[in-house]
Amino acid sequence: MLRPPKRANSRFTMNITHILFWFLSVLALFSALMVITSRNPIYSVLWLIVTFFSISGHYILLNAQFLAIVNIIVYAGAIMVLFLFVIMLMNLSKTAEPKKNRWLKLAGGLAGGCLLLVLVAALRNTEIKGQLAQVNEGDIGLIKNLGKELFSTYVVPFEISSILFLSAMVGAVVIGKKE
């Protein structure tokens, strides 16, 4: 379903950007599949990190450099380390997930597949389908522009998110504390 449509844009040529796009897309999909099929949670985490890296690669292709690096720092560098940490501490990999109902698995896969099918069918002919996303150029993704916008228009949400962070921190400490 990801094949380019036959009546593709005349500007479509196979250059380095396109090769990279396809490579990153295939990598992202493959590693996402591995996340949900790996039996060992540690491998799931590692595959998820690969997924995040390929998504970061997509950001770089879209010249959203700031988001690309923040994605790596926040997701790969902090969040996934937390996951790895918890899994290692609990030593979950030893007690593999018990065999479960195969029908349930099938039903889950089927439901997800149906959702994908419906969404793709619905979005196949949207009005924006011919539009292009700017690749490799445009500097709205650079830190200067983002910063200006963030600290002028979005300064209130920014502060609120910092409060959210603080409360999440306090919450995590309170929950995790042994009583």
């Binding site: 379903m1 990801l2 479509f12 950007t17 796009f21 897309s25 999909l29 996402a32 996340v35 949900i36 949670p41 799931s44 998820l48 997924t51 998504i55 997509h58 950001y59 292709l61 959203a64 700031f66 988001l67 923040v70 994605n71 997701y75 969040i79 937390l82 996951f83 918890v86 609990m90 979950l92 997930e97 479960k100 698995k105 896969g109 439901a111 997800g112 597949g113 959702l115 969404l119 793709v120 979005l123 924006i128 539009q131 996303a133 700017q134 445009g138 500097d139 709205i140 522009n145 983002l146 916008e149 979005y154 998110s161 959210l164 962070f165 999440a168 995590a172 400490v173 929950i175 995790g176």
Partner: protein
Amino acid sequence: MPINYYIFLSLALFCIGIVGVLTRRNAIIIFMCVELMLNAVNLLLVAFSKMHHLAKITADATAVTAGTDGQLFVFFIMVVAAAEVSVGLAIIVMMYRNIHSVDVNFLNRLKH
């Protein structure tokens, strides 16, 4: 790059996340699949922002900041995701301490 590709890629990633949530019973992996879904949305937001930017700037060369908000949303999503993970993992650790398992099927009883 046609926006269609990005839409379909993000959809595929999102649905993989959903399948993961539906089929796995390990709470941590379910949590990770939620992160995957968030990331699919992020990717689409960035692609849309670039699309929006291109459309605006070809129409009006002075609109240099058009589309910035899309990327800022992604930034906020990441912030929320980080906060969510810290609390969520604390809950999972707590749950593991109480029932010595992270299988969500054991959580269908209220009392332990």
